[in-house]
C-alpha cells in the first residue's frame, strides 16, 4: 500500500470514528454509562453543533450527538470517502467548482429561508441538503490534502538529505 493510500485509510478511520462517536453519545446514555462519559461526548459535539432537540434525530429516546443536518453531512462525507477509496488518489484532481456550488446552494437556501422565516426547514430538507453538501466535500478536500502531505514529506526529506550532505 503506497503512502497516499495509507494516509487516506487513516483519514477514513478518523472520520468513521467521528461518526461512531455521534452514535455513541445516545448509545452510552441508553446503555447506562456513567454520566461523565455522556456529558463529555455531548459537550464535545456542542462545540460544533447547536444540538437543538427539535432538529435532532433520536436513537431510542436519546438525541444523537449532533443535529440532523450535521449528521447527514458527516455520514455522507464518510460514504463518499469510501467511494473515493476506489479512485486514483495520486492525481490530486478535483471536480470543477460549480459542482460544489450546486451541492452547497440548496443547504444555504434552506438555512437562509428558514432564518428569514419564509419557509420552515424540516428534518427531510435538512437531511437531503446535508447529504448533498457532505457528499461532495471529500472530492474537494482529500485530493489536495494528500497532495499537501506528499509535499510536506518530500520537502522535509529534501531538508534531511541536505543536512546529511
Amino acid at each position: 500500500m503506497d503512502t497516499s493510500r495509507r494516509i487516506y485509510v487513516f483519514c477514513l478511520l478518523a472520520v468513521a470514528l467521528w461518526c461512531s462517536l455521534i452514535l455513541l453519545a445516545p448509545l452510552s446514555k441508553l446503555a447506562g454509562f456513567p454520566s461523565a462519559i455522556t456529558s463529555v461526548l455531548y459537550g464535545s459535539f456542542a462545540h460544533v453543533c447547536h444540538q437543538f432537540p427539535d432538529r435532532t434525530l433520536f436513537l431510542g429516546r436519546e438525541p444523537l450527538g449532533v443535529c440532523a443536518r450535521c449528521t447527514a453531512i458527516y455520514f455522507s462525507f464518510l460514504v463518499s470517502m469510501v467511494f473515493l477509496l476506489f479512485r486514483n488518489l495520486q492525481r490530486g484532481i478535483v471536480p470543477p467548482r460549480w459542482v460544489l456550488l450546486i451541492a452547497a446552494v440548496p443547504m444555504a437556501v434552506d438555512v437562509a429561508l428558514s432564518v428569514a422565516g419564509i419557509h420552515t426547514s424540516t428534518t427531510e430538507t435538512r437531511l437531503v441538503t446535508g447529504i448533498l453538501a457532505g457528499g461532495v466535500l471529500p472530492f474537494y478536500i482529500l485530493p489536495p490534502f494528500l497532495e499537501a502531505v506528499r509535499q510536506l514529506t518530500v520537502h522535509r526529506g529534501d531538508a534531511v538529505h541536505e543536512n546529511q550532505a
Partner: protein
C-alpha cells in the same frame, strides 16, 4: 527556480482571518453561524486562502496545497485564542451576555418541545437540567480552559478543511514555464 521570489508570509493573513473567526465565535448571536458544522470557521479558512492567494505575484512560486493546510491550521489556532480573548473581554465589559442568551434560547426551545409534546416530561426535565449545567459550567475557570483546549483542536481542524476547500476553489492553473514556444 533560484530567481523566483519567496512566497508571501502566512502570519499576517492568519492573524487577520483568525481574529475575524474568533470574533464570530465569541459574539452572541453572530456565533450561531457555527451551529452548522462550524460553518464560520470553515468559511474563515476559505477566506484565509482567498486573501493569501491575492498576495501572490507572477514572479512567485504558485501556491501549493501544503500552504493551504499550514495556513488553515495557523488561522484556526489564532481563532481559538482570539475567541477566548473576545469572550473574556465581553464578559468583563457586559457581564454574562452569552450565558443569558443561551439560557433564553434553551428556555424557548424547551417550551416549544413541551407544547409539541414530542418528548416525555422526564426527558424534558433532563434536558432542562443539562442545558442549565452546561451553561453554568462554560462560565467557570475550568470550563473556559476546557473550551480553549477543545477549540485548539476543533478550530485548526475545521479551518484546515475550509482552507483546502478554498484551495480547490481558487487555485490558479499552473503555467508550465519549461515549455518553449513553438516557432
Amino acid at each position: 527556480m533560484l530567481f523566483m521570489k519567496t512566497k508571501p508570509d502566512k502570519l499576517r493573513v492568519s492573524l487577520i482571518c483568525g481574529t475575524v473567526i474568533g470574533a464570530v465565535w465569541a459574539i452572541p448571536g453572530l456565533n450561531l453561524i457555527n451551529c452548522c458544522c462550524c460553518a464560520g470557521v470553515i468559511l474563515g479558512g476559505v477566506l484565509a486562502v482567498y486573501l493569501y492567494q491575492q498576495e501572490f505575484t507572477e514572479e512567485m512560486q504558485p501556491m501549493e496545497s501544503s500552504d493551504a493546510v499550514i495556513l488553515g491550521i495557523m488561522t484556526g489556532g489564532v481563532a481559538a485564542v482570539s475567541a477566548l480573548v473576545f469572550n473574556l473581554l465581553l464578559m468583563a465589559l457586559f457581564g454574562d451576555v452569552a450565558g443569558e442568551m443561551a439560557r433564553e434560547l434553551a428556555g424557548s426551545l424547551i417550551e416549544r418541545l413541551e407544547e409539541s409534546g414530542s418528548l416525555p416530561s422526564e426527558a424534558l426535565d433532563q434536558l432542562k437540567e443539562e442545558f442549565g449545567r452546561s451553561v453554568t459550567q462554560s462560565r467557570t475557570f475550568i470550563g473556559i480552559l476546557a473550551d480553549l483546549f477543545l477549540n485548539l483542536i476543533i478550530n485548526p481542524l475545521f479551518a484546515m478543511l475550509g482552507a483546502l476547500i478554498g484551495f480547490s476553489m481558487f487555485k490558479r492553473k499552473r503555467i508550465d514555464n519549461t515549455q518553449q514556444p513553438q516557432a
